[in-house]
Symmetry: C2
Subunit: 466 residues, 2 copies
């Protein structure tokens, strides 16, 4: 399939001055996303104002041409990939911060605003936008909302969903609906706002988004704790929450992650496999008023120090970002370090109820042993969200197939524990074949019927999500 | 319309042993809710297990008989009233706490569980369920979820929506869908869970609900501050948030409320209208670790004490529930005190963006003066949520009509400020005629089409919500 002369004329008229791309070399980058899967767009358009999106969606609906909205395309599940012939809509030219109100605690932004840029902007005003997906420095609010992005601070502050007050959405056919609004409380009508959050571009195109802000926490502190075993680390997680501590962030690194980090940098904890060596690490951040930090940190330490369940054998802490930064820098090195193990990875972000973390993590280790592939586990254990990296050499077909089998085994394990296939990455293309194992026929039928309300011709990001 | 012998036989067989009520005197209480509006149910059924709901919804869908789910019916907007002939479903016999997990931080409950009972139950385990609508001691989780109930602690912890992880829903026709699950993070599929939250019984009947819990905050403290004017109180609200304080709760009482409270009890602040008298009160609660309370309270006092904008002329504070309770008892006396002003009230719970509180409150005072009816304003100003009580004597037709006109004027004012007709009560019957002033035609069309996905014959709580 390709666009005919009339169609090309329509697009070039609606998107003048280089905002309609059709040359293969210009479209190359729009074929893929961080999943590295590939599609083949018929054209790429870059709207600058909502009315262009309206005209485009009126036309594409009538012509039944698939549309693929995308911003920075940082997602790893193929969510932006134009798998079927269609038109990619880049929202990157709609990147204005329209309004930030320190009275309303509301930000209104276009979808192409980079999350980290908004955060800097509002923090300079004493305000705070909590969601912090790992990609926050390069991903956008539009993408974060479309995927309901999570992040480290979700333990205390929840995910993107909790911070979206409203959005304007252009629907196929050209209708524009206004979901929610600037009010922090609003119960008039069905909650279309949260239906948009996490809908993975399957319902419409957001042209602006209203976010809830909060006062910036006065102070933060971090604590890194090393344990002799995975089991002891997970018991400590339970202890901390039961002691009444709600950390801002609670990250975990399993034994295999510690080993590969040690290949990249000198790690601060006693490294190795002998007695006295750290085999699992927890990294906490807490926040609150400055006056509370020393006492709150002490309270966290007390909760960790239970000798009957295995106290941490190594601890390091920092108050304030200068002291905390080195601890978090280690966490950020996981991704580059993984490639010391093998050149390729299958990456997953399964989630289990928090109390099932230990069986999930030990089960994943068993799967690694059984399929003879290294599996690294780390992530946001405060929400039960485990990042699983199945390392392998994809050039070795037999090894690749063991890695894929291991992925399926992890999936089965997680579902058997009442978990979910994705805590924050979304479904996109890569998990779409497995969605039916988690969602029943009736649930999926309802989702498809709701999609048909918004998009009767099925042009929005087809083949994705559910 | 009445039920024929076959229909009655079906209901009595499905709901044996007194769980199908048809005698007028038995059904009396099910005709109304806290709105005092009336309907006329054809029958009242009391399911004890999900399978009874499934059979009922299969049958009612085929017979096109309206259904009205209800629990304690504490809502004030006529949401439970069986306005058209149909069957009331009382969920009060489905009131089991199925599971509370201190490891998963999850509670699974049936819809008829009283919110306050669940809160006591989980707090005894060191856990916490934050949403606290004023009715929490008598209203149910099912009702709270159906209306997305708010409450005082919403400033810090958000509304019911933020605490619902999943639910099982029986749809007309008898399908049962499982929305969400026990995981704190989950982005697989469209967010059906939050679509159910606040849907006012228009989509299906929830048979169980999964809630997210958090660790119970270690300590609380409260502070009540009296100001010379409404304006000074609202400036102080802005100052507190800008100082980086996020209170758990932030309540407001306007001058008219202070006057009627003084009729009921000896109020602790300097009361009257002369110099040095308090004309507006703010009531704060903060929470956190015990060690932080004194310093956090001091920080709040510092933020309040700005002499250029009008510092509080009177302050009282308490640390811990025994000391705090007397301050909150005053807040709870507002409702009984209002009846010193007039025998009837039109009650509203409009919400504006937080920065528009002052124009909203002064505008409402102007409306009271113009229509010559006393209007009391108080409520959750931390979320911009204002409770408006238009006091009048309904027996006086002319006075009643002035009160109704004042209500419409308040509505217009709030919408002109970008506000919403309801922050927490919902739309129900009483606000349904005005929904089109807030929601556009396209938004309502989408909502109706979504409803049709769940309920194609329109049997679920017809005539309500949107």
């Amino acid at each position: 399939m390709s666009l005919n002369a009339n169609q090309l004329h329509f697009l070039r008229t609606l998107f003048p001055d280089g905002d309609c791309l059709t040359a293969p070399e210009e479209m190359l980058v729009f074929e893929t996303d961080a999943s590295r899967l590939n599609g083949a767009p018929l054209a790429v358009v870059r709207p600058q104002i909502e009315s262009q999106i309206v005209e485009l969606l009126r036309w594409a609906h009538a012509e039944c041409i698939p549309l693929y909205p995308r911003a920075r395309a940082t997602n790893v599940v193929g969510l932006c990939v134009p798998e079927r012939p269609g038109i990619v809509i880049s929202t990157l030219k709609m990147n204005r911060i329209i309004d930030v109100s320190a009275d309303d605690f509301v930000a209104v932004v276009e979808p192409g605003v980079v999350t980290g840029d908004l955060q800097k902007h509002v923090e300079a005003m004493g305000l705070f936008y909590p969601p912090d997906p790992a990609s926050f420095g390069i991903s956008t609010i539009g993408g974060n909302v479309a995927t309901c992005a999570g992040g480290m601070r979700a333990v205390k502050y929840g995910v993107t969903r909790e911070w979206v007050l409203g959005c304007r959405v252009v629907l196929p056919g050209g209708r524009v609906i206004e979901c929610g609004g600037r009010n922090h409380k609003n119960v008039v009508g069905l909650d279309l706002t949260r239906l948009m959050v996490g809908s993975e571009g399957t319902l419409g195109v957001m042209s602006s988004i209203m976010l809830k802000l909060m006062p910036k926490p006065e102070a933060t502190a971090s604590l890194m704790a090393g344990f002799a075993t995975l089991e002891e680390a997970m018991l400590a997680v339970g202890r901390v929450f039961r002691a009444g501590v709600l950390p801002t962030a609670l990250e975990f690194m399993g034994p295999e992650v510690l080993d590969c980090l040690a290949l990249l940098v000198p790690v601060p904890w006693p490294h190795g496999t002998g007695a006295g060596c750290v085999r699992a690490v927890l990294l906490f951040r807490i926040d609150g008023s400055g006056a509370a930090m020393p006492a709150d940190l002490e309270r966290l330490r007390r909760a960790l120090n239970d000798t009957t369940q295995g106290a941490p054998m190594w601890l390091e802490q920092g108050v304030g970002s200068a002291e905390e930064e080195p601890l978090w820098e280690i966490r950020r090195l996981i991704n580059p370090a993984t490639y010391y193990v093998a050149p390729n990875k299958i990456s997953d972000d399964v989630t289990v109820p928090r109390g099932s973390l230990l069986p999930a993590l030990t089960g994943i280790r068993d799967i690694a042993a059984r399929h003879e592939v290294p599996i690294l586990t780390f992530g946001h254990v405060g929400d039960g969200n485990i990042h699983v990296n199945i390392m392998h050499n994809a050039a070795d077909a037999e090894e690749r197939s063991r890695a894929v089998e291991a992925k399926l085994a992890v999936m089965e394990l997680i579902l058997s524990l009442g978990g979910t296939l994705s805590g924050e990455h979304g479904v996109g293309l890569t998990k779409a074949p497995y969605v039916h194992r988690q969602l029943g026929e009736d649930e999926r039928a309802v989702m498809h019927d709701i999609k048909a309300v918004f998009d009767p011709n099925g042009i929005m990001n087809p083949g994705k999500a559910f």
